[in-house]
Amino acid sequence: MPDLIRLADIDKSYTRGKERIAIFDRLNMHIPAGDFIAVMGPSGSGKTTLLNLLGGADRPDKGTIEFDGKRIDNLKENELARWRAANVGFIFQFYNLMPILTAAQNVELPLMLTNLPAAKRRDNVATALKVVGLEERAKHRPRELSGGQQQRVAIARAIVADPKLLLCDEPTGDLDRATADEILGTLQLLNRQLGKTIIMVTHDAAAAKFAKRTLHLDKGKFDERELAA
């Protein structure tokens, strides 16, 4: 499969107070389209920073990031926002749904950034909710849904604009085993049947088994053998 993402010579550091903390030093990585990668590693190893860089939520200090053959690290803020809207779906550990909106309205949020007519938007929302098995809960607010249901709404929100890339930050970290397995099964389904490329950060080895492969990250470095595989 061709590469969907290429990271070349990425440097990234943060400043905390007067201290400069290096996260990545010349990180190189490529991710083929249609891959499902679980990224594991201790806290502070750079997992979330990696997701932020891949999703255009943060910029590298040095190096280039290519998505589908085009550089995204040098896009302007508005261009990057538009790129995120079109290409990336984010799924967070704590769902991050808007409490004032119903499930359907939460799912519709990314479609506000498109030119789709209202009827088409409604169709897409209904389809996304159907994919995650929540069409009956469309009019419920997040507080009326269980944790697993909220995460499924978040997945529906992530896929409704049909992005190529799904970035999941501990998507089952707040769920019990059975519900977590349901969510992971859904992600697996999205990868296998819809061809979504998924990068999932997790501490849970059982969750990582749902991915096609697992990469271990430690102190900003991947295990070279896993990366080459």
């Binding site: 926002a81 967070f92 991050n96 808007m98 409490p99 949020l109 990314p110 929100r157």
Partner: protein
């Protein structure tokens, strides 16, 4: 679903907080709209450039000797003069039945206020002929159910008759139409001669002297000549054109208006701080949501628009409700006995809109900029 939908949803996410903010904004705009309209309505009568008014230099409640009228009538630049007295009249009840009753010199009064007295020759003749005749503005007659030809006993809360009675009997001979802006709005006219002969004290004194100048260009000269003529006398005068007189009459409320302006100003500053602080806190509570929206692809500009939209919507809603309430209060106050018709001053509308825009922008700009500058990484890492 669009940005406006989100703005509205977010504004009312905590309804109690929003309602309390709305009430505080509403009160400030209510006071502003009501007081501004009240002061405007008090001086919002039709004026005539050649109509001038002489009254006591001390204030409009002080009387002048009737000799002043005779002297002014004969002065150069004065076309025709009349005089009028405040009767302090009421019908049946001193509070509910209060009305502005003026004792006038009929013939000259009709010349000076010709435009505001569109009466038939028959009615005029009836009023001129009978010393106890009375004319009432149409709304006054309607309010009390008076019919032409009816005897109407009017009380005075200032004057008494020689026999100690405070009641005068008049005959209603006609009613005065009062289109908007009419100087006769709410007025009742009686004969000065009858009034003057029957009162026990204060005879041969008059309240003020309205007159027509020969031309508006001559006004300054006439005003100076009159006031100079009575300077250093026991009854010094102050002469103004009608527009200035109306404004100065309304300005009798001047100090009150100033105090209220200060109160309104203080209220606006307090509201600015309250709404500004509350908006800042409300936006800070939603930091993570803004981060999520940015990850979904919402630009910083659209986030800024939505936050500013919330503060603007809040300010405009509060202002609109305040002005609407002021309209209701003005209508209620205007229907009270003796009150002139009160209506919302037109400038209040755009001034309120401007103030609401200012309030919304000032209270929203800091939280909006904070949300605009927020990085996704910082927003999502907030607990």
């Amino acid at each position: 679903m669009n940005e406006l939908f989100l703005v509205r949803k977010n504004l009312f996410r905590k309804p109690v907080r929003t309602v309390l903010l709305l009430v505080s904004i509403l009160i400030a705009f209510l006071i502003y709209a009501f007081m501004t309209s009240l002061v405007t309505s008090m001086s919002d009568f039709n004026t005539k450039p050649t109509r001038l008014i002489t009254l006591s230099k001390i204030n409009f409640t002080e009387t002048l000797p009737i000799a002043h009228y005779d002297k002014i009538s004969r002065m150069e630049g004065v076309a025709v003069a009349t005089h009028m007295n405040w009767f302090g009249g009421y019908y049946q009840d001193p509070v509910k039945g209060f009305m502005p009753v003026f004792a006038v010199d009929p013939e000259t009064y009709f010349e000076v206020y010709k435009e505001d007295l569109p009466l038939s020759e028959e009615v005029k003749a009836a009023f001129f002929k009978e010393r106890t005749a009375m004319l009432a503005a149409e709304p006054v007659a309607r309010r009390w159910g008076w019919k032409v030809g009816q005897k109407v006993p009017l009380n005075s809360n200032i004057f008494t008759q020689a026999d100690g009675s405070r009641v005068w009997d008049f005959t209603l001979v006609g009613t005065i139409p009062t289109p908007p802006g009419s100087s006769q709005t709410g007025s009742v006219l009686i004969h000065y001669d009858y009034f003057n002969e029957t009162i026990d004290i204060g005879r041969d004194r008059i309240g003020w002297i309205p007159f027509l100048s020969t031309s508006a260009e001559a006004n300054d000269k006439v005003i100076a000549a009159i006031d100079q003529r009575f300077a250093n006398s026991a009854d010094e005068t102050r002469t103004n054109d009608e527009a200035t007189f109306n404004k100065s009459f309304a300005a009798q409320l001047g100090n009150l208006a100033l105090v209220l302006a200060l109160v309104v100003g203080a209220a606006f500053i307090a509201i600015l701080l309250i709404v500004g602080t509350t908006m800042t806190l409300a936006i800070r509570e939603r930091t993570k949501e803004f981060g999520v929206m940015k990850t979904l692809g919402f630009s910083s500009g659209s986030i800024l628009r939505m936050v500013l939209g919330e503060s603007l919507l809040l300010a405009f809603l509060g202002a609109a409700l305040g002005v609407l309430l002021a309209v209701g209060l003005l209508a209620a106050a205007g229907s009270m006995p003796g009150a002139p018709p009160l209506h919302l001053a037109t400038p209040v509308l755009w001034q309120s809109a401007l103030m609401a825009a200012g309030l919304g922008l000032v209270t929203g700009v800091l939280p909006a900029l904070a949300a605009y500058r927020l990085s996704i990484v910082d927003a999502l890492s907030r607990k």
